[in-house]
Symmetry: C2
Subunit: 396 residues, 2 copies
Amino acid sequence: MKNLNDFTGLLHHLNRIGIALSSEKDLNRLLDLILREARSFVQADAGSLFLKQGEGLIFIAAQNETLDSGERDKKVQANYLGSFLPLSKESIAGYVAVTGEVLNILDAYHLPPEVSYRFFRTFDEENHYRTFSILAVPLRIPEGEIIGVLQLINALNEKKEPISFHESFEELVCSLASQAAVAIRNAMLLEEIQQAHLDTIFRLSKAAEYRDEDTEVHLRRVTGYTMVISGKLGLSSEEIGLLKYAAPMHDIGKLGVPDSVLLKPGKLTPEEFEQMKRHTLIGAKILEGSDQKLFQVAKEIALSHHEKFNGTGYPYGLKGEEIPFYGRIVALPDVFDALTSKRVYKPAFPVEQAVEMIREESGKHFDPVVVKAFLDSLEEIQQVKNREDQSSVTII
Amino acid sequence: MKNLNDFTGLLHHLNRIGIALSSEKDLNRLLDLILREARSFVQADAGSLFLKQGEGLIFIAAQNETLDSGERDKKVQANYLGSFLPLSKESIAGYVAVTGEVLNILDAYHLPPEVSYRFFRTFDEENHYRTFSILAVPLRIPEGEIIGVLQLINALNEKKEPISFHESFEELVCSLASQAAVAIRNAMLLEEIQQAHLDTIFRLSKAAEYRDEDTEVHLRRVTGYTMVISGKLGLSSEEIGLLKYAAPMHDIGKLGVPDSVLLKPGKLTPEEFEQMKRHTLIGAKILEGSDQKLFQVAKEIALSHHEKFNGTGYPYGLKGEEIPFYGRIVALPDVFDALTSKRVYKPAFPVEQAVEMIREESGKHFDPVVVKAFLDSLEEIQQVKNREDQSSVTII
């Protein structure tokens, strides 16, 4: 396939790459796939990807066969990821991004004196690498805009020695780069839309708690804990994805609880507590009747997150596995977060004490399987707590 | 490009088609583009697309150069769109969908006796068309699943006479069909995610109105009217898209209004009305502070949809163009829907009477520009009303 004389074979290959790139929805996996396919297409030892952001280029992905397979310090290499290049003709990637030209460089260390760009050797020096040939092409979307740059480094001959990139590769790699550009834009758009959806759920669910003392941070923490525990329980990434969207809606039914109950400062009377319990049923009513899996899961959680494993919960007093699994999961983070948060009627318990209280309730309030997953992931739970507590400082 | 000897040229062309298909997000435009590109690629007079749905194939798109450019009755042709074919080997498309084989047929009216499929002449007869050659290929996604069938009909020679499809086209058209399959799946996924987002907004905004007499149908009607008026005002499709998501959240701030005010059956005291007015400010607070354009627009609308053009509205008493444009737009549908709906304290006014009341308020309550756009689109407004009133029967 890599025989340049087999041009038809190469074009076929290119078509297959295009299809593969269009199919990858995850941006990070896509960037990796682009580099892998592009490198294998032209037999390049290394490659890197830059994406335009504002007035610069972000160094977003890199692969290096020699370094990745060697014993060298991968940390030095990783240090470069995320670094920022100005959009100027002084660097190779910058030049390509600004002009849209293809650069096919024979030896990065011996550039013609008249060119505006230079090669920065820092990476090579820190990694004991020697860059010879570079093929740098723009990532151009069909509308003409350049969204980034693909750099292929050190074409290899059959003996794995660096040679230059054959001229006839230029057009093929440009075509591959255009396919990559569209795929990147699509993946980013998808990510953006999914993020917008998630933001909507948090904002409007937070709004539902407007009348309550709970806050958006509570929702974020409960959702974060739920995802950690679900991961530990071995749920599929599809299921974890659903929980990410569904868990924040668990208390949406509080909307239907009268102010006189929801906002009452003192202890609730038995009648008021009965009214309060109805938030599970009201939530289910708000969320029911959708064809979408998301709302089916959200309804299940809203309805069952106050059931207890020993049958003493509400609204139905379900017991053990009668309680939907997702409800048994969310029940724990919801209580854990209430314990570790300050409320009008109680101080915030320290994490250690809250963990002990949860452990105590294994088989009583909570499903022992869920408690075990929780206890096995305390470190990640603490990380989520730190992250959300920190972000709350700026958000609220 | 259509010279079969220029195989390299064809492959290049195919690559460009792949990029174009990946860039099209709108499913209907995408289906059209696929047919157009595939037909021009192999010089076919006509083509059709079928997509799998459940246990059948839906006839989803069709093009026919001869018929489309002629004087014939296009309605007969359009009648076939949306029709359902069983997933069986008895039809040509069904055979390809079931077996995954390519069918390259010389003359549809003279099929070999041993084949399981037959050609249905109804369409030809009703349209006075004669189908000769057919190239039918599966739409296969990379994971292997067949999601539909692409049929190309009547390859033409330079004199526009029907000939058979050259064998060497088969592989190229299969490759094109694979690109089309991925693009279709991506467009459907995007549509699904956007639909899910919209559902979330409606469900949770409806939930916010749980305590109020307003319903999801009110939100849907107001949003529908808003889009009609915005279209008449010449807003861009991007802006109309934003309004579609933002308008349903206009009353989200009612969450912050106490039950004693929101649910009071009788007339509000001046103090209570002041509390009620605060739903605009509370809505803005719930929606503010986002980087997302959607929430910026939603906030603007929540805050300003009760301002009046003559400065007598609330919360700020803004006047004329001081009021954000989107707020001036949504103000009208919100009132129009209230007028034409039954409330505890009033009957539903007939549309004609409500229209007159709106016209009266041009330059007073409403921006005259918005009133004019509304009056110019009464027919579409009525259609939206009928559609949403009808759908409410099944939804609620």
